[in-house]
């Protein structure tokens, strides 16, 4: 497979992982790519399982497949019944599908249940150099480990269940180099929101990002996951970070990570993954981390982001009519004036959660702001851990008490108000500061309005009741 490129040609990590997984490449067809890990959840899989039943097919590799319930599942007390009967039926169908096809799964009452992109890394299932797919566009999260991880549709979920393979065209490579030291109050979420605001939500279409540079190297695994998670909001199906000592330290000892001699063999292979010096990318952008401010979105797609002290842009300053109308439509939906910053804008809801920002470090960051403070009485605050294990860890550290004493609602694990399928949602017209990944119209509930930001900014805004620069509370 590597002969294609010539033995001596330097390759990016993206090309190396790709080359390692090509099963066949026939003329006139995309490559057949092998999938090392397939994550399955209740929302995008039912029609795929129906397809298998109709064709009389089995799941080829249940041992490379794992399921969890996250999107439709309520985040209230798990001993209570699920009130939404349609959601309940979907969850029950998912459990039946997993049992019928021999796929291990973390059901609603499992202590390992959680958001699909939280549990893979947490369990040590996600490893460097792997191909990882899931019927969910935020699958790029797993790229933080140096895996080529991307979201697929339900037809492809069926293909992978049946064959463990996908037909896939080669992507272009896009280096996102982030150098310099972040200032206090600025973090991973601000880096990725800054990138997307610069390239736009279609800027990475057809590409895979490699995030590199000193600022990325200095981030923890959880922070790298936050960045890779939102690659799709920049249009890229996948985004990854080459593995390093931070990666190996995170992985060592996790339940499904290799052990003993297998660990040593794995480490030897993983160390060959980083991009060769002299390898060329199709595109590149540079970001100066030291110049970043906390970021926040003002509009109805994740590319509509600004530094928190900057004014909301003015549609009349845009020449292209379609672009001008798109910005105008967004500001009408958000009911926001242009030309002034969002700072001081009233907030009804703060949501801390989602596959972007619901890991233990996110909860610690939010708790550090809320400790000894009270949530503004006009704000409803939901804190939704990404998994039951994150929840247990937070409780062991007393973070749940910090949240409750501040007046926040401490919930069970799930996607919750990021996608608002499970009853956790905004009322029409409400404004949220949310640590999730999408601010599309109605994303957090019909008529709801979302400002995307970091856990620090969300927690600060919870305290004051208005959009707040967290640096004033540090």
């Amino acid at each position: 497979m590597s002969q294609r490129n010539g033995a001596a040609k330097p390759r990016t990590i993206i090309e190396k992982v790709w080359d390692n997984h090509v099963v066949s490449e026939r003329p006139g067809a995309p490559a057949l790519l092998y999938v090392d890990l397939h994550l399955v959840h209740e929302v995008t899989s039912p029609q795929a399982f129906s397809g298998l039943r109709e064709r009389g097919l089995k799941v080829r590799r249940p041992d490379l497949t794992i399921g969890t319930t996250d999107h439709s599942i309520p985040t209230h007390d798990r001993s209570l019944p699920i009130l939404d009967k349609v959601a309940e039926a979907q969850i029950n169908q998912f459990e039946k599908n997993c049992r019928d096809f021999g796929i291990p799964f973390f059901g609603p009452h499992s202590e390992k249940q959680g958001i699909v992109h939280i549990i893979g890394p947490e369990q040590g299932l996600t490893q460097p150099g792997m191909t990882v797919v899931c019927g969910d566009s935020h699958t790029a999260t797993h790229g933080a480990f140096g895996a080529l991880a991307f979201g697929i549709g339900t037809s492809q979920v069926e293909h992978v269940l049946a064959t463990q393979c996908l037909l896939q065209g080669r992507s272009r490579t896009f280096e996102v180099r982030v150098e310099g030291a972040l200032k206090p109050g600025v973090g991973a979420k601000d880096i990725i929101l800054n990138l997307i605001s610069r390239i736009g939500i279609g800027g990475g279409t057809g590409c895979v990002f490699e995030y590199s540079g000193s600022a990325i190297r200095s981030l923890s695994m959880e922070e790298r996951m936050t960045i890779c998670n939102m690659s799709i909001e920049g249009g890229a199906r996948a985004g990854l970070v080459a593995p390093d000592e931070t990666t190996y330290q995170y992985l060592a000892g996790r339940p499904y990570a290799p052990k003993g001699a297998a660990w040593d063999r794995a480490l030897e292979l993983w160390r060959q993954l980083p991009t060769d010096s002299g390898a060329e990318f199709d595109k590149r952008i540079d970001i100066d981390a030291s110049a970043l401010e906390p970021m926040i979105t003002f509009g109805t797609n994740p590319g509509m982001g600004i530094p928190i002290s900057a004014p909301v842009p003015d549609p009349s300053a845009i020449n292209d009519p379609l672009e001008r109308e798109s910005l105008g439509k967004a500001l009408r939906y958000m009911d926001l004036p242009s030309g002034k910053p969002l700072l001081g804008h009233p907030v009804n809801v703060v949501f801390i959660g989602s596959c972007t920002n619901s890991r233990i470090s996110d909860l610690r960051a939010a708790a550090n702001i809320l400790r000894g403070r009270k949530v503004n009485p006009n704000v409803r605050v939901m804190v939704v851990p990404g998994s039951q294990l994150v929840k247990s860890q937070a409780q062991a550290e007393g973070l749940d008490l910090v949240f409750k004493e501040a007046g926040a609602d401490w919930r069970e694990a799930g996607c919750s108000m990021c996608i608002a399928m499970n009853g956790d949602q905004l009322a029409p017209g409400e404004y949220s500061v949310s640590t999730s990944n999408r601010n599309f119209e109605g994303r957090q509930g019909k008529g709801g309005r979302t400002f995307l930001a970091s856990p620090l900014t969300a927690a600060a805004s919870a305290v004051t009741g208005v959009v707040t620069d967290v640096r004033t509370l540090l």
């Binding site: 040590g124 549709g153 590319g303 119209e441």
Partner: protein, 204 residues
């Protein structure tokens, strides 16, 4: 899948950039375990008022929109969520093609697997089409996938790109899974030499 044949049709214009799949089909409709009924939920929050009544001014509620098998949309159509419910909803409503200047990757792939043709045109052609509809809402174009040709209302023809493999699948009405299943020997050979792997069935 049915074979994708050449056709002529009116177009329903939706001059908005970055239409995401949450708008095409809102998440609350994804609790279904089948594909049935999604056509009625297409563009739900733009299409119906708070009481669930169709908004007459929204294009696909109008007679012009109803008569169109082609959606003419702004740049980067189908961004966001990977939900295949988006092309299912579009095809169930009756669309056979979407014309835009670009498509999000996952949506494009999902569409091709459901006989919904994503037609990429240049900025100039895109503007020409919107202008033609402003002048004549019943303006017609012809789509010929075999030739990769779009014939504009004024009779001029432009080429559009498409992945050759997906094109053949659509023209012949076959899906990819059959093709992949034929390669089980190659898959088995690959599995035999895989160096490392996790085992999700292992007790931990």
């Amino acid at each position: 899948m049915e074979k994708f044949t050449a056709f002529t049709s009116r177009m329903a214009p939706l001059a908005i950039d970055n239409i995401d799949t949450d708008q095409i089909i809102p998440a609350r409709f994804l609790k279904t375990t089948s594909k049935a009924g999604l056509g009625d939920q297409l563009f739900y929050d733009w299409r119906y008022d708070a009481d669930g009544n169709p908004k007459p001014e929204f294009i696909i509620n109008s007679p012009e929109g109803r008569a169109a098998q082609i959606l003419l949309a702004g740049d980067n159509f189908g961004c966001g969520s990977s939900r295949e419910h988006a092309p299912w909803a579009l095809t169930q409503y009756g669309f056979r093609a979407v014309i835009s200047t670009s498509f999000a990757d996952i949506f494009r792939g999902n569409s091709l697997k459901n006989s919904l043709l994503p037609i990429v045109v240049s900025q100039d052609v895109h503007k020409t089409l919107f202008a033609a509809l402003e002048k004549e809402p019943a303006a017609i174009v012809r789509v010929d996938l075999a030739k990769q040709e779009l014939t504009l209302p004024d009779g001029t023809t432009v080429q559009f790109p498409i992945d050759e493999f997906a094109k053949q699948c659509m023209l012949q009405g076959v899906d990819e899974l059959g093709y992949i299943l034929q390669q089980s020997d190659a898959i088995q050979a690959y599995e035999a030499k895989r160096p490392l792997s996790v085992n999700t069935l292992a007790s931990t």
